[in-house]
């Protein structure tokens, strides 16, 4: 039933969009932005979803996350190798690639969630706001408060909805009941789930449906007021309707937050993101405006992957 219905938020088919969008001029140029290289052309290019053209900015200053020759090893095995890319603020950056390509590993490196795995070793530089996150002095608590994360499977704590959302603010030392109430309400509203749960905030979060749980997790991440939101295949466990809602939500959130999303669903990447990076075998193959990646990829592997001719 539900799969037959068109989700209310479903955008028009991808092909139509790409045909409608104006051709880009930077075809054939180096697709992976190197540090110091000019990002003007890419940044000024009209994106299908951007309502206003992005300002032209020098990449080095504006990039909120900047990766330079970053590699991460599990013991002797490399999870990602030599990644160099800049992620710009207030947009959705999608990372695509076949499974095992290192896209999740890279995402989880940004807020150092990979630390949970034993024998992890990082090389190169991965900076958030100019601060190398693998630097010894980096305070993990502060880092993770600024770089929120939403996981593949919704993972609400086995607590009430209210306590789930209030978890982050409480960590930051907010004890005032009214203040917490306010943050919880704002976050749930921002995650577009307030109307569904406002009457029963004491209910266990585990009693919600999968889609609601995922939006709750987004609300929970928003409640710590991060600047960056990392999403690790946030819709892979959800049905199409729930997926549509989350995608709408991302559309709204990107005005305030920087979103990096890992997805195995190319349509999703095409629908929601402004920039897309293609990872393969732990390496960054191509990184460019989404429209370009899907319409006119610069690399053979990318083309094979987005056209579905892969492996």
């Amino acid at each position: 039933m539900s799969s037959l219905m068109t989700p209310p938020s479903d955008p028009p088919p991808v092909e139509t969009q790409y045909l409608a969008s104006p051709p880009t001029e930077d075809r054939g140029k180096a697709t992976v932005p190197r540090p110091g290289s000019k990002m003007d052309i890419m940044a000024t290019a009209q994106n299908r979803k951007a309502t206003k053209p992005l300002e032209t900015v020098p990449a080095g200053e504006q990039a909120i996350i900047r990766s330079e020759r970053f590699s991460l090893y599990y013991g002797a095995k490399a999870g990602v190798k030599n990644i160099t890319m800049d992620i710009l603020p207030h947009m959705v950056t999608a990372i695509i690639g076949p499974s095992g390509c290192g896209k999740s590993t890279f995402l989880r490196s940004i807020n150092r969630m990979n630390d949970l795995i034993p024998h992890v070793r990082a090389e190169g530089r991965l900076a958030v706001d100019g601060q190398d996150v693998y630097d010894k002095r980096t305070n993990l608590v502060n880092l993770r408060q600024q770089v929120g994360m939403v996981f593949q499977k919704p993972n609400p704590f086995p607590k009430s909805i209210f306590d789930n959302i209030a978890y982050g603010p409480r960590l930051q030392g907010v004890r005032n009941k009214g203040q917490l109430q306010h943050v919880v309400e704002q976050s749930l509203k921002a995650a577009a789930i307030w109307d569904e749960v406002k009457d029963d905030l004491k209910k266990s979060a585990l009693a919600l449906s999968g889609g609601q749980q995922q939006r709750l997790c987004i609300a929970r991440a928003l409640a710590t007021r991060p600047r960056v939101l990392l999403m690790d295949e946030p819709c892979s466990a959800l049905d199409p309707i729930a997926t549509g809602r989350i995608e709408d939500l991302m559309e709204q959130l990107k005005t305030t937050y920087t979103i990096v999303i890992v997805t195995h669903n190319m349509q999703q990447a095409a629908r929601v993101s402004e920039r897309t990076a293609f990872f393969y075998m732990g390496e960054l193959i191509e990184y460019d405006r989404t429209a370009k990646i899907f319409r006119n990829p610069g690399k053979k592997e990318t083309e094979d992957y987005v056209t579905g001719r892969f492996g």
Partner: protein, 547 residues
């Protein structure tokens, strides 16, 4: 090998494997069945009026007018027994009646002197009294009924003599009459046999110095020193055994030369055939219930009461308290240690030599025999540590619980580790991603989620150490002794008690229900704890999988 043999072999194998499991089940039933059946007798049984008397006297429980009335009724029913035995005794207990005759003679002399009769008269009456006494004694000693008749008739001729009327000497004639009556009925040549048999009968009915009888000591007589001998059969099953012993005499005979002796039984009534005691056997069989008033009793206070006379009466209350004290105190030591160690092992994983040594130590600790823990507890806690802390170096609750804590440490660590590992990684990630520190994540997310699992492990450890005996033999458990007033005193425990009551206690062997009751209480305690753990665990599984 052809296909058919292969198939047959396969089937044989399947059946054999199935049988092994059937065997396991049978073993479980075979071990638990008899013990639980006999142990339940400690709580569920037919309690007689003697049981209620005992409860009133020893445990200050249930004394009431109804009980007094009941006692009066049973006493009424028992009176016939007493009188039958007394009558019979007069005929056969020669020494007793000879003594009685001599005493009458002496008392009569005193009486005369007190009355102040004239010297001549005094001498004459004294002489006659002595003659009667001699005649009586001759009659009592004789085994010829004709001789007895002659002697006694000559004694009884003096019965109407006014000189004896109203004096103590009248006792002579009562003795003579009773004896004549008795002598007419019994085979006098069996005097000694009768006497021995009567003593046996009295032992069974009224108790001996070693064991209580069916009805308890006769009212009014001196009470024996042990409380257990103050009462008759308190339980109907006991009473039935005694009734059987009363009805049948048991003896061992050599059926064949060089073969083990065989037990034979013969009706005891036959011994007393034709005597005045014969009706006793029929009377007791017919009126046993009237004399004892058996009634189905649920003695739940068994789990609260202290015991009396080395578990002859009473329950296992102090043992239960002691067991709980030692185990709970032990858990208080081991739970924080175990949970912290488990948390460290799970959350701070690093495959280095420190971890390897810790893991190896935990495995080694799990394999150390429990008696060696006992040795360690004695050598380290009691003889080494206690004097240095200013405690008296003697076995005590504290020492026992510390020893048990050490013993159960690996169990606790492993259980908590498993529980903490079962918490989905996503919970931890969710918390860490929100900027919680590792410590914060553990305290606010992982630990609450793992708590039911940790509790399960805790209960399992508790049930494990509740049954341990060897480690506390020298560190704090005793078999008999007063209730502990502080943790620096030793205590009785169910486990130590189960050993003692099986091996060291001769009194308890007379009451198997109390022997089995102790061990069944221990098993029940442990099975209940295990059942709690199983229920808790399945609920945890459902909760963690349900989402």
């Amino acid at each position: 090998m052809n296909l058919r043999t292969r198939g047959a072999l396969d089937r044989v194998f399947t059946v054999l494997a199935g049988l092994s499991v059937v065997l396991l089940t049978l073993v479980l039933i075979g071990v638990l069945g008899p013990m639980v059946y006999r142990g339940s007798g400690a709580v569920l049984f037919g309690g007689t009026v003697e049981f209620r008397k005992m409860q009133r006297d020893l445990f200050k429980r249930g004394g009431s007018e109804a009980l007094d009335a009941e006692i009066a009724q049973t006493e009424e029913a028992r009176r016939e027994v007493y009188s039958l035995i007394d009558t019979f005794r007069k005929g056969i207990d020669i020494e007793a009646i000879s003594d009685a005759a001599r005493r009458i003679n002496r008392d009569f002399g005193e009486e005369l002197r007190f009355k102040g009769v004239a010297t001549e008269r005094y001498t004459e009456l004294r002489q006659r009294s002595r003659d009667i006494r001699d005649q009586l004694e001759a009659a009592f000693a004789s085994q010829d009924i004709n001789e007895i008749r002659t002697d006694l008739e000559s004694v009884l001729q003096s019965a109407d003599d006014p000189a004896f009327k109203g004096t103590g000497a009248e006792g002579y004639f009562k003795l003579a009459k009773d004896f004549l009556n008795a002598a007419e009925q019994v085979d006098l040549s069996k005097h000694h046999e009768y006497k021995a048999s009567l003593q046996e009968v009295e032992g069974i009915l009224f108790g001996s110095t070693e064991r209580p009888g069916l009805l308890g000591p006769r009212p009014g007589g001196p009470l024996p020193p042990l409380a257990m001998l103050h009462y008759g059969a308190t339980r109907w099953d006991q009473a039935r055994q005694l009734l059987h012993q009363f009805k049948y005499r048991q003896f061992w005979v050599e059926a064949e030369p060089n073969a083990p002796l065989v037990r034979r039984e013969e009706p005891r009534a036959a011994l007393f055939a034709g005597t005045s005691l014969e009706p006793l056997f029929g009377y007791i069989q017919a009126n046993a219930e009237k004399m004892l008033h058996p009634r189905f009793t649920v003695y739940w206070q068994y789990f609260l009461d202290d015991n009396v006379d080395s578990h002859y009466f009473g329950g296992v209350g102090p043992e239960i308290i002691g067991t709980l004290l030692i185990t709970v105190l032990g858990m208080a030591f081991v739970v924080p240690l175990g949970v912290i160690a488990a948390a460290y092992l799970v959350e701070c994983t690093a495959d280095n030599w420190v971890m390897r040594i810790i893991r190896m130590s935990i495995n080694t600790l799990a394999g150390v025999p429990s008696i060696v823990f006992g040795l360690f507890g004695l050598a380290f806690f009691i003889l080494f540590l206690f004097p240095r802390l200013g405690f008296e170096p003697k076995p005590c609750i504290l020492g026992a619980s510390m020893t048990l804590a050490v013993l159960t440490l690996p169990v606790m660590i492993r259980a908590s580790e498993e529980a903490i590992r079962m918490v989905p990684q996503s919970f931890k990630e969710g918390s860490l991603a929100l900027g919680a520190s590792k410590f914060r994540t553990f305290v606010t997310v992982t630990f609450p989620a793992a708590l039911p699992g940790i509790l399960t492990g805790m209960i399992l450890s508790l049930s494990r150490i509740a049954g341990e005996t060897a480690p506390i033999l020298f560190t704090g458990a005793v078999w008999i002794g007063p209730m502990a007033k502080s943790v620096f005193e030793p205590t009785r425990t169910l486990s130590r008690g189960s050993y003692g009551i099986a091996v060291e206690d001769r009194l308890a062997m007379m009451v198997p229900h109390n022997q089995y009751g102790m061990v069944v209480t221990l098993i029940l305690l442990i099975l209940v704890l295990n059942a709690m753990a199983i229920v808790l665990r399945s609920r945890v599984f459902k909760k963690l999988k349900g989402q």
